[in-house]
């Protein structure tokens, strides 16, 4: 996993609420090997229908999606994060997320940011008025700034992130190593737990 560094990149507004992980990556692709890459399959069926915003030339190279509520709801498939990440995306900003998608993101060096609904709406509107405009996502300082370079809707928001997750993202490490270092606490817990409920 790479260290998460400040992103300054084109941001794409996605207007639909409840974008589920079946749309992000359809089920029939899930048995492919991880090494084959999922980027070209991101939103496969929506894109094949034509006219999808991510395929418009002004959004080429986008690394940020600004979405509506409940992004990534539905199936637990981590492939949804792989598809976004393999396609070069690094951040999704939305008023709310599917819980499992949200958790999966951090495990892949991918940053989901919750901002208030009103602010997400404003940001999407500003990005729609200025296609191809960039935003800056600074994890260290926990800020989203943008759209930059256009005199329209410029602003800065602070976002919350759990400190442990921030630390792991900035260091580019997963949590298994840290957990394994807590082996004594886990073993002690299990002894106590089994003494109380031996049938488990």
């Amino acid at each position: 996993m790479n260290k998460f560094e400040t992103v300054e990149a084109v941001a794409v507004p996605l207007e639909m609420p409840n974008i589920d992980t079946d749309q992000i990556i359809p089920a029939r692709f899930l048995w492919r090997a991880r090494s084959e890459g999922y980027g070209q399959l991101l939103f496969n069926d929506v894109r094949e229908a034509g006219g999808f915003i991510l395929d418009r030339p002004e959004y080429k190279g986008a690394e940020v999606i600004v979405a509506d509520k409940n992004f990534g709801c539905g199936s637990s498939r981590e492939h949804a994060v792989w598809a976004l990440s393999d396609a070069g995306l690094k951040v999704v900003i939305a008023p709310s997320f599917g819980d499992i998608f949200f958790n999966n993101s951090f495990k892949n060096g991918f940053l989901p940011i919750v901002l208030p609904e009103q602010r997400c709406n404003e940001l999407r509107a500003a990005l729609a008025r200025n296609p191809g405009a960039k935003v800056v996502v600074d994890l260290e300082n926990q800020t989203v700034t943008g759209p930059i370079g256009v005199n329209d809707g410029y602003g800065q928001d602070s976002f919350d992130i759990d400190p442990f997750r921030k630390e792991l993202l900035l260091q580019g490490v997963d949590d298994i190593t840290f957990t394994l270092s807590q082996g004594e606490a886990i073993t002690a817990f299990e002894s106590r737990y089994l003494a109380e409920t031996p049938w488990i």
Binding site: D22, W31, A33, S76, P163, T179, L180, P198
Partner: protein, 469 residues
């Protein structure tokens, strides 16, 4: 004063970091043929499976329901998902109910069936419908592949923050023809597909107290469709009666000890929930979805809403897109929606009571459209056959198949064709969920059978009253 959720969370907390991140112990880890990525990550790190005795699995997502011969799976990569599970079992020694074992089935059906699922346990599985197990008073939720590998390696899971609590109380008595599936669809229609995001739901009230274990499993199963992390029902006599004597249930001297522990689990009187919702069960009707989100649902007596009258511009856009995909018109009666195909099965509705409910409607009638019935496990299938349900289905022209996730999930060959409307007892009506271009209408098993014998969404209460299909 603690909630059921608080009690299980606290009991499974190993440590809390100063920043609030909590390490939880996993009592039971369920796995399936889609869990391969987790084992690959384990292998990549050169780590062993920490607790094979707490790990239980069965192949379900990728298996064929036409035949349980693994060679019946035509695509080599798909076949490999199933065979890899057998190889992982040989290497790591977890408990597995494989193809050819009558205990094989959908992982969320066999957990309770085998007594692996128990009150007060913390359970996880690399599948979003893990909340199903909350029906027995466990705290159970879905995780992704990376978290699966973390659990395999450590038997623990990090949670950055504790979810909030929500109580949904449904009092009253359900009218005839209204099933647990209708209750949960009505709840989602009320609170929305994101209504439970970040919360653990406890279902409370007269309706759930009176509900069978099978019904509670259906309700908790769809908690994720309301965005919730988990759904739970407090254990009670129904729970204990269901569990007693199952293969992995505590027995002998452990049984009274377990009962003693379980009886202390229900939320304390006066425990505070972050959010409360109340619905009246007596006012509920059989439900069907008309759109592409589980919240796009209406009583069978209702109509498809007019996007022009939607509460917000955002909702109007969502309704318009959904109706365009579904090829349905605003104002249309729900019971005039044409149906081309019917699926009865999935972790939501493939248990014995579901099959009885569908058979009661199918009996003496004939399918007008292709209809598939997929029992949730080999044991459910055997039970149904011992009751003669398969004969009723076959005489009605329904296809009686081998257990698996089947047409719910669109990854094992059981697919709805592009443009077809499918009345389905599964849990998601997302765009393309049951196959590319498929149009899903979520209904109860009784409503699915009614749609099968009439060729359109039909108020099952009419058929129950003896009306000809």
């Amino acid at each position: 004063m603690k909630t059921l959720f608080d009690k299980i969370w606290d009991r499974h907390t190993i440590l809390v970091r100063p920043d609030g991140a909590t390490l939880l112990h996993v009592g039971r880890h369920l796995i399936h043929d889609g869990s391969r990525a987790g084992f690959r990550a384990l292998a990549a790190k050169g780590l062993p499976l920490r607790s094979p005795e707490r790990t239980f699995g069965t192949p379900d997502h990728y298996v064929s329901t036409a035949s349980h011969d693994v060679n019946a799976i035509p695509e080599p990569q798909r076949r490999e998902m199933v065979t890899a599970m057998t190889e992982n079992q040989k290497q790591h020694g977890f408990t597995m109910f494989g193809l050819g074992d009558k205990r094989q089935g959908i992982v969320h059906v066999i957990g309770p069936e085998q007594g692996i699922t128990q009150p007060g346990l913390l359970m996880v599985c690399g599948d979003s419908h893990t909340a199903t197990h909350g029906a027995l008073g466990a705290l159970a939720f879905g995780i992704g592949a990376s978290e699966v590998s973390h659990v395999l390696a450590t038997q623990t899971l990090w949670q950055s923050r504790k979810p909030k609590s929500m109580r949904i109380t449904v009092d009253g008595t359900l009218p005839p023809g209204v099933t647990p599936k209708d209750v949960i669809i009505a709840i989602i229609a009320r609170i929305g597909a994101a209504g439970g995001t970040g919360h653990v739901i406890e279902y409370a009230g007269e309706v759930f107290r009176a509900m069978s274990m099978e019904g509670r499993l259906t309700v908790c199963n769809m908690s994720i469709e309301a965005g919730a992390r988990a759904g739970m029902v407090a254990p009670d006599e129904t729970t204990y009666a269901y569990l007693q004597g199952r293969p992995y249930t505590p027995s002998g001297a452990d049984w009274p000890k377990a009962l003693d522990y379980w009886r202390k689990l229900p939320s304390d009187p006066g425990a505070i929930f972050d959010v409360e919702h109340r619905l009246n069960g007596a006012e509920m009707a059989p439900m069907a979805t008309w759109g592409t989100s589980p919240e796009h649902a209406a009583p069978v007596t209702g109509h498809i809403p007019d996007p022009a009258r939607a509460a917000t511009a955002e909702q109007r856009g969502a309704y318009e897109r959904a109706l365009a995909y579904m090829d349905l018109k605003p104002g249309m009666r729900i019971d005039e929606i044409p149906i081309d195909r019917v699926f009865i099965g999935s972790c939501t509705n493939s248990r014995i009571e579901d099959l009885r409910e569908a058979a009661a409607v199918a009996k003496g009638r004939t399918a007008k459209v292709p209809t598939m019935v997929v029992a949730g496990s080999g044991l459910v299938k055997l039970q149904a056959e011992s009751e003669g349900l398969h004969t009723i289905f076959k005489q009605a022209g329904f296809d009686w198949r081998e257990p698996g996730c089947s047409m719910c999930v669109g990854m094992n060959g059981d697919l709805v064709g592009a443009g077809e409307h499918c009345a389905s007892t599964s849990n998601r009506n997302f765009v393309g969920r049951q196959g590319r271009g498929a149009r899903t209408h979520l209904v109860s098993p009784a409503m699915a059978a009614a749609a099968a014998v009439t060729g359109h969404i039909t108020d099952v209460r009419r058929l129950m009253a003896g009306e000809a299909a």
